[in-house]
Symmetry: C2
Subunit: 145 residues, 2 copies
């Protein structure tokens, strides 16, 4: 059987190697990949509800809850109960979380650069296009982002 010849297998292997490399680079800054996505989301709009962050990032509630708890421990964000709805919480960036922005954005661009040294500019565009198609396939057609 051609297990190793399937796109599925290739994607799986590349994906874990990919995440591993990202984690290694982010470790120098002191954060993890799961926290990174949340930070980018909060830099876009601060004070989101936890459940909204979860659906935006397509993460299960327990996943984002755990990650946020870690970020609170690191002093990157705070969690505040809503006054008008005691079920919800809002997540706010701390000064520390705000100030990491420049460093992390720069690092992220470097990571992107580094990865793309394996591809030509044309290949990069094609890959972006194909991954976008797969994303829509997995997530369904989504308007924003």
């Amino acid at each position: 059987m051609q297990f190793h010849q399937t796109v599925n297998h290739l994607l799986s292997r590349v994906a874990t190697a990919h995440r591993s490399r990202i984690e290694k680079r982010l470790a120098a800054i002191g954060i993890h990949s799961g926290q990174l996505a949340i930070l980018f989301e909060l830099w876009k709009t601060d004070g989101r509800r936890q459940v909204d962050l979860a659906s935006e990032l397509r993460l299960a509630p327990p996943t984002i809850n755990k990650t946020l708890t870690g970020m609170i421990d690191l002093g990157l964000v705070t969690r505040e109960r809503l006054e008008d709805d005691a079920r919800s919480t809002r997540i706010f960036l701390t000064d520390a979380g705000e100030q990491m922005r420049q460093v992390i954005e720069a690092e992220w661009l470097e990571i992107e650069e580094e990865m793309l040294t394996a591809l030509t500019e044309t290949e990069r565009l094609i890959l972006f296009d194909l991954l976008t198609k797969l994303k829509h396939f997995y997530f369904g057609t989504e308007p924003e982002e």
Copy 2:
């Protein structure tokens, strides 16, 4: 910043959705994605040493150790100490592990088919090529497989 426009971000998102879908399909059979890769490896050559499986699959020793322990509990493989080197162990398929082959291979092909409905045949080939390049980038040039 164009965080969402980076290939890195896209790949991360697609990868987690991808694995999630694979796990869901494999759950019907009763195995997990990590076990799948090992099974394919053992179907190719049975009785490998644990450390060789690890390097073949590019997994850290503790990772494959944990996964194999789970597979032993499921009755898919056995672990036997080597006679001439008490440090090493060899992993052997059980009858149950052997007999899952047909079902799993069929399922794997279905998963591949399903994923590729999002792409044309040409796109599939291109994606395979690009992922192969990334794999070599992450893993270094490797001859076999």
